[in-house]
């Protein structure tokens, strides 16, 4: 009984159930093969997950993860530098402001010419989306640190490196996590697009390939997998934030 109540109150369960019902209603209403029923899709999903679909999903997750890690590696130092040095800020910010709103997906052909047709161009495309979010979030995060904190660590006798590790870096960590959360949606969409080109691996390829083969059940299993992947990455960011920023 208790378990049942808990399930009822769980918001993600409520959300999933509602979507399943809506899906089923659509399936009945449209009544064609374009929208297969949830049940057969889920069965196909689990069946495919023991085989090829798992590989497609994993290669997509890998591309996004590498892009996130590289974006942080580039964006955090640049953002810190811009936040702490007026000169760096006045030099880099104008460039960042112009590049930031441009839809990066338009550069995919260029990236494929420059970085090859394989993984690199796809990863760099996603990186070019996330990295600006991180640079600007870190820069603003540094600028928002109250002066009193700098005073208080100065009076405690911390050196430059200790000020970075005890004050500046922890102050911007939560900002980095929100920047990631904001950019992940766009990243997945862009990844989906880029995986239509020059690859036979990735969830984008899988879905479009099923479409071409007119296998709507498998296509929907792919869409389901991609939605789950998005949720999984979101939850992973939440989880990481709880682990590394326990004070917020």
């Amino acid at each position: 009984m208790k378990v049942f109540e808990k399930l009822l109150r769980s918001r993600s369960l409520f959300g999933s159930l509602s979507i399943l019902i809506l899906w089923y209603v659509l399936h009945l209403a449209i009544g064609s093969k374009i929208i297969p029923g949830p049940f057969e899709t889920i069965v196909t999903f689990f069946h495919l997950m023991t085989g090829s679909l798992l590989l497609h999903i994993l290669s997509s997750i890998l591309r996004i993860t590498v892009a996130i890690v590289l974006s942080m590696g580039i964006g955090i130092p640049l953002g810190l530098w811009m936040g702490l040095s007026k000169r760096a800020d006045s030099f880099i910010s104008p460039i960042a402001y112009i590049l930031y709103p441009i839809p990066k997906v338009a550069f995919l052909p260029l990236f494929m010419v420059l970085f090859g047709l394989g993984n690199s161009s796809k990863i760099i495309l996603i990186l070019s989306i996330i990295v600006f979010q991180i640079i600007l979030a870190v820069r603003d995060g540094v600028k928002e640190i109250p002066k009193e904190y700098f005073y208080s660590v100065a009076t405690l006798g911390l050196n430059r490196w200790q000020i970075y590790s005890s004050l500046v870096f922890p102050a911007v960590l939560p900002k980095i996590m929100s920047a990631l959360r904001v950019s992940i949606g766009v990243s997945i969409a862009t990844l989906f697009f880029s995986e239509n080109y020059a690859t036979t691996y990735g969830i984008g390829y899988f879905i479009m390939n099923c479409w071409v083969m007119v296998d709507y059940v498998e296509m929907f299993a792919g869409i389901l997998a991609m939605s789950l992947m998005g949720t999984f990455i979101f939850k992973a960011v939440d989880w990481a934030e709880g682990k590394i920023c326990p004070w917020v």
């Binding site: 009193e148 904190y149 005073y151 208080s152 660590v153 100065a154 009076t155 405690l156 006798g157 911390l158 050196n159 200790q162 005890s166 004050l167 922890p170 102050a171 960590l173 920023c245 326990p246 004070w247």
Partner: protein
């Protein structure tokens, strides 16, 4: 111990302090009081070496102050505790920066947290403890470094009346046990008289008057009439300041 000569501080072209002369002898306490915006925090930060004066100088033990000093402890207006560090890590921060070994840090930090009655909150973050407890943590963080000069900016002003008296009693007790030179900025007349051997009354950017307080050090002073006489005197000087400002307008 502190010698301030002809000190001037400017923010841009706004003068925050002008022609300040002040001497504070070793192991004495000095309370600075004055209207909001008169330059108390600026004066304290200059003594801490956080603000570079635009003219004149601050000498500490005969040496001109150029930057912060390891032996000066500062408690800022809002405590300045780092939100991402637990009470324990906040207190240990300065010791770690000095490269002390772990066992020694553990001993010192637990001793001071115990003394200030906050050991049970050691693993909590600043936003998980009360204002009074937070203030104790910032006092612990400063005292654990055993400063010979302690500068405090409104150490109790964010607290309610009862907690404020607790903190004031605590500061007096700690001072009696381990005297150090102490300068505190306050906007409470009662606090200035309770904790200051010398009471410096400021007006805009300058020192208006200095009162010696012979009753300092008596924990029960708050119940005695002499205490109120000094409070009245301070109040008189502060309101003279006010009436003068009104004349200026």
């Amino acid at each position: 111990m502190i010698r301030i000569r002809d000190l001037g501080v400017k923010y841009g072209n706004e003068t925050a302090l002008e022609n300040i002369d002040l001497d504070i002898p070793k192991n004495k306490t000095c309370a600075i009081i004055g209207p909001s915006g008169c330059g108390k925090t600026t004066l304290l930060y200059t003594m801490a070496g956080l603000i570079v004066p635009s003219s004149g100088k601050v000498l500490i033990n005969g040496e001109e102050l150029k930057s912060t000093r390891k032996e000066t402890g500062v408690i800022l207006q809002n405590g300045g505790l780092l939100p991402w560090k637990t009470a324990w890590d906040n207190v240990a921060l300065g010791l770690k920066a000095r490269g002390m070994d772990k066992a020694e840090i553990n001993g010192k930090v637990s001793a001071i947290l115990e003394e200030l009655g906050i050991l049970e909150h050691r693993d909590k973050y600043p936003n998980q403890i009360s204002g009074g407890q937070r203030q104790r943590v910032s006092i612990a963080r400063t005292l654990v470094l055993e400063p010979d000069l302690l500068l405090m900016d409104e150490a109790s002003s964010s607290l309610d009346a009862i907690n404020r008296e607790h903190i004031q009693n605590l500061i007096l007790k700690l001072y009696m046990k381990n005297p150090a030179t102490m300068v505190m900025v306050t906007h409470s007349i009662e606090e200035a008289v309770f904790l200051g051997q010398t009471i410096v009354i400021m007006e805009r950017a300058a020192i208006k008057h200095i009162i010696e307080n012979p009753y300092f050090g008596d924990e029960d002073i708050r119940t005695k009439p002499e205490y109120y006489n000094i409070c009245l005197e301070v109040r008189k000087w502060l309101s003279k300041e006010l009436s003068k400002e009104e004349e200026d307008k």
